[in-house]
Amino acid sequence: MLTQYDIEEVQQHCNNAFSQQEILSLYDRFCQLDRNGGGFISAEEFLSVPEFAVNPLSQRLLRMLDGLNFKEFVAFLSAFSPRATLQQKIEFIFKVYDSDCNGKVTFNDMLDVLHDLTGQFISEQQREQVLTQVLEEAGYTKDSLLVMSDFVKILGSSGLKMEVEVPVD
């Protein structure tokens, strides 16, 4: 059970992205998904949600969600709160791309994500072609290493919308 102290700690950790009521709901959800009560949600338990399992980026997200306790789980979801800033949302997207967490996104990183999203329906060659073309049009090259500020420049004006609503009883 969550004490008031726990709730405040979680709230602080996620930079007040969620209200106390929302944190309580998320805790209920966390406990519901963590069926064996291990204190974290395993990949199997996430994949038991069919809507999550059919998502093309589920494997990538599972790597980020692996072994998170409740506090970290809420911090993970904070990018999706309506109170999160655009900067925070773009940071989250950057982290999804930057799988080796070195602060730089390579051509191959972007190719991998594109592969997840398109599956077998575009050939590897076509993917490279498309990516190279749009990169060059935006002023980058195949060998460019994109950092956070590049992402902000690219995505900052695209009217990004990335929000989920936490159901509160």
Binding site: P50, E51, F52, V54, I93, Y97, V113, F151, S158, L160
Partner: protein
């Protein structure tokens, strides 16, 4: 387009045609799917729609909601109601429960002492034996229902009853010996081959003239009576008339939902026997037939619609068996395909 391994692809494409469109039910709102001029870098890098869907599923999803037991609001929290509740507990555990156990024991004694002789002595007179066995089974069922005080209110003209799943343990023993006598059809839900055998048996039974009507629970798993999951199409491809029956439990008295993840059947039974009553409404709805333009899946969906409306259930597009297995890769592939087509299309535009 590259194909997958020979033998499997034909059966999976068949399933493809049959399945109703999940996208109709699921929340979408991905802006990437609306072609808007030339493809730019920000369009490729912006994975926010897909991420939003994933996060939405993590926070809440319609499938898990189907199997959530909703505990009733505690009402015994003030100084006047609490003693009343204690009194209620005493009555339920010390009076009702023992009385019910006694009723059940008496019922079993009567049943077994009649059934066993009938089963062996009337070996030669099959028709009479079957008739008597059926009467006895109905008797023990009434005792069983009485043991948790089932109060059922019927609506509508009654047609007339059963395949059931094999439960492990003592319930299984019961089922295999006694209920087989009334012609129940058994199946093991994890055995794929079993499906063909069951379909054949169902068809034989339905076409046999003086067989009982078949009672089927097409969801394939226990759901919490607020949602309905997709129906298995097996019963709807037999080419016979379907009489839909809608059941709605009144949860004020007890929640009859067997949450098989949380409770075993025995524990659930004990819970029912120490409650006041199990109250439900049963509606017999107008019999339906397969319309000439419908596929069996559409027929199943139509009947599910009729039942859900009557019993106030929300429909969800999920297969109940997803409780035990993963969704097929088809759904993900469909998303990938639509995104890929969009990218290629926008690439062409100037």
């Amino acid at each position: 387009m590259s194909g997958s391994g020979g033998k499997l692809s034909s059966s999976s494409s068949e399933l493809d045609l049959d399945r109703p469109n999940i996208e109709d039910y699921l929340p979408s709102g991905s802006s990437i799917h609306e072609p808007r001029g030339k493809l730019r870098l920000c369009d490729l890098l912006d994975i926010s729609p897909t991420l939003t869907e994933a996060a939405g599923a993590i926070v809440d999803d319609s499938f898990t909601r189907c199997f959530k037991s909703n505990p009733p609001e505690p009402w015994n929290w003030n100084v006047y109601l609490f003693p009343l509740w204690c009194f209620g507990v005493a009555v339920r555990y010390l009076i009702l429960f023992p009385a019910r156990v006694i009723v059940l024991i008496i019922g079993w004694i009567i049943f077994l002492s009649s059934f066993i002789p009938v089963h062996f002595l009337l070996k030669g007179h099959d028709k009479l034996r079957k008739k008597m066995e059926r009467v006895l089974v109905e008797l023990i069922c009434s005792f069983f229902v009485a043991s948790w005080t089932g109060v059922v209110k019927y609506h509508g003209p009654r047609p007339s009853i059963r395949p059931k799943q094999k439960h492990p343990g003592w319930v299984g023993l019961l089922q295999s010996t006694i209920l087989e006598s009334v012609g129940c059809i058994w199946f093991n839900r994890s055995e794929a081959k079993d499906r063909e055998i069951v379909t054949k048996k169902l068809r034989e039974h339905v076409q046999g003239v003086d067989n009982n009507p078949l009672l089927i629970f097409p969801e394939g798993t226990c759901v919490n009576n607020q949602y309905s999951v997709m129906f298995k199409k097996g019963a709807f491809e037999l080419g016979c008339t379907v009489c839909p029956v809608a059941i709605k439990y009144n949860k004020i008295f007890v929640d009859a939902f067997l949450n098989s993840r949380k409770q075993s059947f025995t524990m659930h039974l004990l819970q029912l026997m120490t409650s006041w009553a199990v109250v439900c409404d049963v509606w017999y709805l107008e019999p339906q037939n397969l319309k000439p333009v419908e596929t069996p899946i559409e027929f199943a969906e139509r009947v599910r619609d009729i039942i859900s409306v009557r019993a106030g259930l929300k429909k969800v597009p999920w297969d109940g068996y997803l409780k035990y297995s993963r969704p097929s890769p088809k759904h993900r592939e469909r998303k990938q395909q639509s995104f890929a087509e969009c990218v290629l299309q926008r690439l062409e535009e100037k």
